[in-house]
């Protein structure tokens, strides 16, 4: 149980061990611990932030959804109105077109009537002439009696 030079050897060993630990072991391990601590804290903070953002986003989504709904109902209303307008418009156009067609038809009818009248006039002239011929028993000079014939036919018109 004697104290001897072993003591000095042990002290040197101890000093070397402490030095080595201080220089090469403690700092990297301690730093990695600190770094991980920071990482975890950051991660937790980020998660919390993310959750807040989710809540915000949900709120925002609700607002957007509501807006969209409003807008769509507005659009539907507008579209209905427009459809009504178009229906009205087309009704109107159709009516006008119909009237126009009726007018055109009437015109045509008038024209045809005129033509028919004209035809009739001519035929009546011929008929009257032939009737007068038969009545008179003699040939009437067409050129001589043109004035009379014209008078009759204009009376027909």
């Amino acid at each position: 149980m004697s104290i001897n030079a072993t003591l000095i050897g042990q002290m040197i060993t101890f000093a070397l061990l402490v030095w080595f630990t201080m220089k090469y072991i403690w700092p990297p391990l301690f730093d990695s611990l600190e770094e991980r601590k920071k990482k975890i804290a950051d991660g937790l903070a980020a998660a919390e932030k993310g959750q807040e953002q989710i809540i915000l986003a949900e709120k925002k989504a609700k607002v957007v959804l509501k807006e969209a709904k409003d807008q769509s109902s507005e659009i539907v209303t507008l579209a209905q109105k427009r459809a009504n307008e178009i229906v009205e418009e087309s009704k109107h156009t159709a009516k006008q077109e119909g009237e126009r067609l009726i007018l055109a038809a009437k015109g045509q009818i008038d024209q045809e009537l005129q033509q028919a009248k004209e035809g009739l006039r001519k035929e009546i002239t011929t008929l009257a002439l032939s009737a007068a011929q038969q009545i008179l028993g003699a040939e009437i000079d067409k050129a001589k009696h043109q004035d009379i014939l014209n008078k009759v036919s204009s009376q027909l018109g």
Partner: protein, 257 residues
Amino acid sequence: MATEAHAEGATGYIIHHLTALRVGEGFWSLHLDTLFFSVLLGGVFIWFFKNAADKATAGVPGLAQNFAEMMIEFVDQQVKDTFHGHSKLIAPLALTIFCWVFLFNFMDLFPVDILPGIAGLMGIEYLRVVPSTDLNATFAMSISVFFLIIFYSIKIKGPIGFAKELMFQPFGPWLTPFNLLLKLVEEIAKPISLALRLFGNLYAGELIFILIALLPWYVQPLLSFPWAIFHILIITLQAFIFMVLTIVYLSMAHEDH
């Protein structure tokens, strides 16, 4: 000691187990077994922690890093609880002390005859495997700590401040010689109590293992098993006490009154 070692019977067995492998005479002799095992165990400590430190990442730690970080956090917590200053030395010092002393003590759990028996086969006559049963090993640490206490006392308080503390506390300037005596005893008691506490516990523990080994083989397990379990507590506790007291002494050295 060499003559005693040749004594026969139980006494011879015990003495043989507690005799160091020694070269040289007088003060300038060395206990080769103590030096060998303490360097070996220091190497184990350094190897393990260096390995973990090299692979240290802030990401998912491996098994070795996990364990090393557990130790680091444990030691760091002890240091933070006691020491309220900034020092790059104290925490690594505490870690080294805890691990080294624990490994010293752990050698105690090897069956008492195994390593000396192997050494005997190789022609080494004496082998004491537990470095902390050598006063040289325990005093080497406690005296180093003592030097650090003196160094930090002077560094923090200044030479004059430290001298004042030695002379004027705790009873004021009128009792200077008495104060000085008291303070010197207090300071010197620190390394002695540190070293002797560890040495005493481990020496006694080893002695009891040796005594158990002297009993008939069918009684040995009944005694050595519970004693070994109990010893697991003791070796950890002694390493812890050495570490904590070192931190306490050094933080006292840092406190300026």
